[in-house]
Chain length 280, copies 6
């Protein structure tokens, strides 16, 4: 996402965010500031955090008034200390005050995800295992939250249903077998997309390998069992651990040798961090 | 929000949520299920929680396929036990599997807010003080999150900048004084809207009362100071406590006699609760 | 409304206005002027009037071509004489000629409302009574027409159903009593919004006061009866006169002592004033 | 326009009308009526009038709630007496009360245009002259207002810039001569579209005829001069009278023998008629 | 169409084109080029062709990034040789690479239509007969394809159902006779629009003339029969030949003396020409 | 695509198609048929063809009028003879006549692609090689045209830039080497997406294999050279032939042993087939 790149969906989300807050107008600011009054403001980290969402915050202000300028003083992905000024905005005071809350709501939420992700990344340090997010994101904010995960040092699993085939229980039941499911999907999808099969036992792992699955998801297995599954796969496919993974147990999971660990809590379990805007 | 009431903004949000996930299509489900295959599924609480978002979940499925039927087995605002089936959906399997994740993302997020709100409401029980939310909501989800707060037993502060005038530091500085700010705003807003002034000391409280403010926000005051401020107001205006209020200190704040306590964490500090969908 | 502020709804209205007129293209202008031909034009008042809608007219031209410049020679709210040049536009002749009719349709309609409002305001001069508009506006043009009322010196009643609670007959019947209706609504609305009750007799006025209504609407009462109602209210609530109020009787109504008089005809009974565009 | 025909622009206008009024919700009705409460209401003419806009009113209610039924008791174009029930609506009380004002705003406005048009049509009775509207319509409501003119017995001039070529002063100046303008436009437009030239003197009329114009607009000519112009045209082209035509002088204008008379006031000079909705 | 003129429908089409290709992002370019990397590219004709669509190609790049500059080195309607550089684009490399395929898809498709049209125009040279397109266009690209026909030297028939009345078999059957159909339509349409009647035999031609049709379409007649029909019409109406007209027979058809020949294959039978983009 | 599945982009395309044709209304049909007139019509193949687009045609009619019913008499992908009735539609005559042209424009265009694809598929019969389309599609119709390719028996390459990484010259130049490009992209994309590298010589093929590319595109190689390249790859990656492939040479290309052959002409070189609608 970039303010330089068009994204009709991001534009729609920003309009939703502005409309729900501004509605028929800002009763207070509209009465007390003329259209011409100019001002400047800073976005300030009120705690240590990992930054994400600066571009969206900028887009909020320029959507309100094209004459707003937004100067980055850091960038997404940076770990900053409490008190750091993240950006400085110049423009009409009305735009600054109207944009304040929606811009903060975006950047606080996204930096919260980036900051939480960074903790998980730290826990994996040196294991060679890659941290992935999931599709458990806030409706409408998928791409922004996935960018926040990257800002925090994580990687993205598939963005949606369209850029990865994931065969689960219901699919296998419908197809009759893992082999049949993999074959049917293979014929239907573009040659550029891989097939992952969700497995909860060794039998399924073996069948998936035999069917030529590209990635084996090891779902909710205790570390020992998972280590055996990884050994069973033996490099014939990539492996992903999933299910009930926390900051406490993630390193143990990584040590089973899995290639990827996916953690839904990166996006659905993060809390907003504290960032404020100060008019200068 | 109701599936019976039109809401172009909610429709836009649901479309964003479906589009970001579905993109050019569900590679897996599209390959393995025909358009005609029908199925049924239940939404199941995997933990004790307060329900919110059933209507949105229903709207996700009917947006995907008008032939989906969504039968409520409980309703928003109910406290349910782990294992409760919240709703049952019938329709094309494709719609069920495609809608599963977006619908869950909505209802898990919103029920998380309702559940957290219920904890705060419980902490206030018997104090006569009203719990309010704030504008610190996820961009694009304002109305849904405010409905979740009501489902949890809380009340809503103004929905946006348009249905309440809130005079803060910057406004006072621009107007020259609290009196001037209140007078200017009063002339500008509809007669049906009240004026609230954010105060951090007794002098501001006195000036706000003299200016005829309808509501006095007592910002970030320790309980003792707040109690004095409430006494100073003495029923000439309504009072609202705000700033750094937690589950631990909220009851103490309420005992200062304030009419309202607003808590941003209801919306920005909640985590998703565990709800799953099971195909039957 | 300002060309500097975003307003997706105003943008949508301008697009509707341009699309309905331009359709698949201007057959005449497209044939006779190249894209490059530049020109200038003035918007000229063909009668004495009060100006409203200059910003919208500007937005029409810049929506057609971003290179159009629109120079204000007066501003909304000004009383101007016949012959006054309100604004001057420079830009591609195509944009000038295509924008002419939609821009004039806007500014003639809105200045008509401002001019009529100014007559009512004049009739109230010195009474201390505030003139309000109503929700009887042209569909899609609510905010613009409300801005025109302000340009004419009037004030706005609530902008819609969301920024003021208005309890009428049907609501009272549903709730069982005025008291019950007021109490139920009070619990449901944000603390920043007032409650108004529509009353047609003294009994209702008394019940409304007892229920704590913030504003009493005195509906369709003859001046003497209204004066008694105002005396009955005696400052315990604000009062608003409504119903069958004309330029002839408005001053008499004001002398009853009501705080507000609302007049639907400001918006639904105004006629367009005469403004033309002249290419220079 | 028909509720059976799709019209993305009408749908957009209705959404604008509902959104500007409903915003974040109806504070009063939402508090006092449950989603399930059903009701019925009638739309009643409070004065004699010509009906227009029933379909739009119906669309407002069904947009709010698909379960609303709207039963026509008359139809667009009918002259009805005071007290006539125009239509009856059944549906959720919330939808009835929320839709009341936007629906009435549409139908009162459009029936006002139809009623005024009918007066002009009556004044032309027996003259064989056709009454036309103009492009001086309320922005965004063009098609609805043109339908109202037809309901009143009038005919429509071109709907916009796309379905008729109209050569005016500026076009002639740019082309160098009427002949050149007509020739250039003829080469550019579809063979299915006619060319009209605006003339204010006999010389222009002669040049237009020589150039092969299909329609001659006689602009702002006194009746005698216009009669001579009509004689000059002598059936070689159709003729249209335009400019400063009122109910008082329109019959005299018609007697000059022009084929068409266009009257901008049909749309920009009409006032809303009185129609109300009564809950039963 | 011009990048200077607004066209919400063209903007919608470009957004569809970008969204369907870009989706959640360009996986390759996003990984390998920073947002800041600047570049330049040329659009090059890989075969002799007639140019159409340069403005749309420009709009694709500026929609992706407003900082892109697009310099025309030729213009729509020009016949260019193989190897000609049509335009040069400067801007962020990401925008250049992302815009390449959609921009080429537009300009190759539209130049294909222009080039094919030019062949037909050449075949008609000196006959005085005008080549028209039809409504057989690619859904969503009507205006662009009609502009391509003009670029190739052809003319446009009506753009749609709104700017010309075309009476066909089904209409005649419904009205009872050609006379009745023409009369009914005449009363309903704006005076600026002509009526065309589709005729397949001499009887229909005579009836159409008697009914006052403006244009007679001679449908699927062999040249000799058509010549007789043209003689029958004898200048009382314009004539259009339609049906099974190819590059081989079009000159023979023109020699029957018809005013217009319409050819659906201009738009539905053209193939894309070869144009490429080279990064410099 | 299915009329049962929501697809905001398809809905937008259908609206564009209807709006560009219908504009302010169908002048002919609106005058001659009442809203109530009902009718039936058949879609008939006027030549042998492979069907694609029935669902879109159905969606056109139901978008015009929800009461239209569309009964399939065959299905997408079927090879039908001249004279086959593909579907039968019942509904208001207005909707049938207004929808006729846009519906035919869709289905003729898409069936043209399916029919051409079927010819290529036939040419490959028995080779074991898979036919792929490209991104050279008509702007806005990507998904429909890719569905038409599948209807014709072909397979889809990536749908856009988001579901496959394709490293070309410019990317390699930016990264410094194929190895560097592959590594950089691998780290950036979801684990579910493959990497393809465009190669025009053996050196590039070897480097791509060494870098771990998943698919090797052999660009514009003569059959003998391509056969050597396939031998070089030797199953370590999938192979795709691309560039200047025609019906004449495709079988020879397949015999080189490549896994996939992609042909842009499937979509950009197809012509509409002949399908008509007959009112019954």
């Amino acid at each position: 996402m970039s303010s330089n790149n068009p994204d009709p969906q991001l534009a729609a989300l920003i309009d939703l965010a502005l409309t729900e807050d501004l509605g028929s107008g800002d009763l207070t600011t509209g009465a007390l500031f003329t259209e011409r009054a100019q001002g400047a403001a800073g976005l300030i980290a009120r705690q240590a955090l990992v930054v994400s969402g600066l571009d969206v915050a900028a887009a909020v202000f320029t959507r309100l008034d094209q004459s707003c300028s937004f100067k980055l003083l850091t960038q997404d992905g940076r770990h900053v200390k409490k008190g750091t000024v993240l950006a400085r905005i110049h423009g009409p005071v009305r735009a600054l005050l109207i944009g304040e809350r929606p811009a903060l709501n975006f950047i606080r939420h996204l930096s919260g995800i980036a900051s939480l992700t960074a903790e998980y990344v730290k826990a994996l340090k040196g294991t060679g295992c890659t941290l992935l997010d999931t599709r458990k994101t806030t409706p409408g904010l998928r791409r922004l939250e996935k960018a926040a995960v990257r800002a925090g040092g994580g990687s993205n699993h598939r963005l949606g249903l369209f850029d990865g085939a994931m065969i689960k229980d219901n699919h296998i039941a419908a197809a009759g077998s893992i082999r049949s499911a993999v074959n049917t999907v293979r014929k239907s999808i573009p040659p550029t997309v891989k097939i992952e099969v969700e497995c909860s036992n060794f039998k399924q792992v073996r069948e998936s390998l035999a069917a030529g699955a590209d990635i084996i998801m090891l779902d909710n297995m205790p570390p020992e069992k998972m280590a055996k599954a990884v050994a069973l796969v033996d490099g014939q496919a990539a492996t992903e651990a999933s299910g009930n993974i926390t900051l406490k147990n993630i390193r143990a999971v990584a040590k089973t040798g899995v290639d990827f660990i996916s953690v839904g809590a990166l996006t659905h379990g993060a809390r907003a961090v504290d960032i404020s805007m100060e008019l200068e």
